[in-house]
Amino acid sequence: MNDTARPTLTVNWMFPDQLWLNGDRGNLMALDRLGEQLGFDVVLNRIEDVSQPIPADLAVFGSGDLDVLTALAADGEALRSFLASVRRIVVFGTTIALFTRTTARVTHPGFNGLGLLPADAVERPTDGHVYGDDFLIEYAPGTAHPVAAGIYVKTIAVTTDAGVEPFAKVLFGLDNTAKLTNTGFDGARHDKLVWTNLLGPAFVRNPWLARSLVEELLGPLPGDLEGEWDLEKASLDAVRKFIAAK
């Protein structure tokens, strides 16, 4: 493949200085690495101002604090317009509150999100709560890499409308509603929105997940990376054993 034929993945890294809770920049590093390994270029736009649309293949939202999401939601119309020129939106963790219809909070006023996901969120009680644990999900049954591992930090419970397609099945950890353990569903796929509670960072610990999402945008990319993923596969095996013994 010569340089002129190299595909380009344009990524809008959304509010990198504000959506930063769980090592989220690792996801952008993982996309860069995947580009090096599979032969595509990654154009990375740091987005702090949404007043002017910047077309992109992918907009990536890291995990953020509810106070920050409240502030971002206040400028919701500009953000909605900005995202109209993006092909796919990937959202990690609590930041989905920015995309639901409403988020109710415990001691702070609630806020309205963009409504791009037919769902409502409720902040979980904040005293004496444990929000996180290991997380194992099945997102691509029947494929060579059906499972992804990481952690979750679930400070909100999300109820999606009937018919909204989940992103994955929960094998270990809490489901979207924070009511079911080791069963139920994680995240959602709705229109161009992909949401998961998988942190870790998700693309670092599960490069096969990152590849599948990139290939949805760029088409199939030749290249066998199984040998490159030695550490990640060993990590997944170790985590599965660890979780099984919990």
Binding site: L44, D65, D133
Partner: protein, 448 residues
């Protein structure tokens, strides 16, 4: 106040006396026992008239020890906590400084209090002074985010408390901005000051006031330095009430108000602890001479920073707190400061804490600029840790460390790690891990 409280108190005192008689330390046991019998025993035990709390994510223990040392040097009888910083730990500390007739034997109570314990403790023990170190990312499964921790501190403050706040920490500074009776402290730009990251993946942080983008103009520690918000203009004061002009890690001094004070613990983050102790002591009217004398004789609690000579090499302990990325970044800077060739044993380990499940979380490693180690003359990285060793190695690979420099071992067995340490051919080995794991490894080394 109930008979149950009195009984709990007496049982705690008896346990303390018994443990002392058999020469056993472990002062937390009487506290845990008394607290278990009656949680309101904390209210029952009489306290000294003067009370100061020290809270924040990092630096509490060292600052508490420093404050205790300075107050003692000024002639006061000081009660303070040496064990845990939650309710049973505080009960344990009070038992030590109270007579069997429940009379306080101390003039001042100096308590390190965990942020999440403040709301339970302040209604029972009301401090006149509240000393705030910093607010950083810390155990997200429990604390969510720095905002959550900041709220836990803010909600217990009352107008009668005198606050001493870190001017270089955005969250702490934002707490101070809401109150009148506040003194601030900070460190001026100095030769150890770091410039903020500027690379492709550089991140700053959200503003604690408006949630906009906050940037650091310079950093004395990770996430601590002179800052301003690009949206609302919230910023550190140009000159705080108490300012260290600088410090010299070689000479072991910190310069405050033009005077050099001893600072024998040679890492940049200790400078804030010394400065906070200085500020509080000065507020109480303690002279610079007394403070200097106390700093000079100060011995920190074990394990904060130490070297061990063993098998022809030096093992340097690089401490960090799990899931507290700024402490990991600090430890990396301390390793980086040594120009000699070295091996680094990175033992991130399964995250364990008292509140939640053990978790294979290494996400916080991506909040840290590990590339600072990639060019720090490290000849080999041994990534050890049950389950997480592979993820640790991956973090280093992302940071630019070649795969051939990475050795991965899926173990957290202290004996195995001690063996590895002894077998290392490098003259300098840095052990990057959390305190309890280090203590276990050190014990295993001494058993060999």
């Amino acid at each position: 106040m109930s008979a149950r409280d009195a009984f709990a108190f007496l049982v705690g005192k008896a346990a303390l006396t018994g443990l002392r008689a058999i020469g056993r330390p472990g002062y937390h046991i009487p506290g845990a026992l008394a607290y278990r019998i009656s949680p309101s025993v904390l209210q029952y035990i009489r306290k000294p008239a003067e009370v100061v709390f020290i809270t924040g994510t990092n630096g509490k223990s060292t600052t508490t020890s420093l404050v205790q040392q300075v107050l003692a040097a000024s002639g006061k009888k000081v009660a303070y906590n040496t064990e845990s910083n939650n309710q049973p730990g505080i009960v344990a500390s009070l038992l030590r400084y109270t007579s069997v007739f429940n009379r306080s034997k101390a003039d001042v109570l100096v308590l390190e209090v965990a942020e999440e314990a403040l709301s339970k403790i302040v209604p029972v023990i009301h401090p006149q002074h509240l000393l705030l170190t910093n607010v950083q990312k810390d155990v997200p499964q429990v604390n969510q985010s720095p905002n959550y921790i900041r709220d836990r501190i803010s909600e217990i403050i009352t107008a009668d408390m005198a606050l001493i706040v870190n001017n270089d920490d955005p969250d702490v500074s934002s707490i101070g901005a809401k109150w009148q009776n506040v003194r601030s402290y900070g460190i001026a730009r100095n030769p150890y000051t770091l410039e903020p990251e500027t690379g492709r993946y550089a991140i700053a942080r959200p503003c604690p006031v408006c949630s906009g983008k906050l940037v650091f103009d310079s950093l004395n520690m990770p996430s601590i330095g002179r800052f301003h918000c690009t949206k609302c203009g919230f910023a550190s004061k140009p000159v705080p009430d108490y300012q260290a002009d600088g410090f010299d890690l070689e000479a072991g001094t910190i310069t405050i108000g033009g005077r050099d004070f001893p600072m024998h613990y040679k890492a940049a983050h200790f400078a804030y602890d010394y400065l906070l102790a200085y500020a509080y002591a000065t507020e109480l009217g303690i002279s610079a001479e007394v403070i200097a004398r106390a700093f000079d004789s100060f011995v920190n609690i074990q394990g904060r920073l130490e070297d061990i000579a063993t098998a022809g090499k030096t093992v340097h302990y690089a401490r960090f707190k799990q899931e507290t990325p700024d402490t990991l970044a600090l430890a990396i800077e301390n390793i980086r400061r040594d120009p000699k060739p070295k091996t680094v044993i990175a033992a991130l380990n399964i995250v364990e804490n008292a509140w939640g499940p053990a978790t294979a979380n290494t996400a916080y490693g991506f909040d840290v600029d590990f590339s600072r180690l990639a060019d720090a003359n490290v000849e080999k990285f041994l990534c050890v840790g049950h389950v997480v060793a592979y993820d640790t190695a991956n973090i280093l690979r992302y940071a630019g460390v070649p795969r051939e420099k990475l050795v991965v071992l899926d173990t957290d067995d202290p004996a195995e790690i001690a063996k590895l340490l002894r077998a290392e051919t490098s003259k300098d080995v840095y052990l990057l891990t959390w305190l309890h794991h280090y203590q276990d490894i050190r014990k295993a080394m001494s058993n060999e």
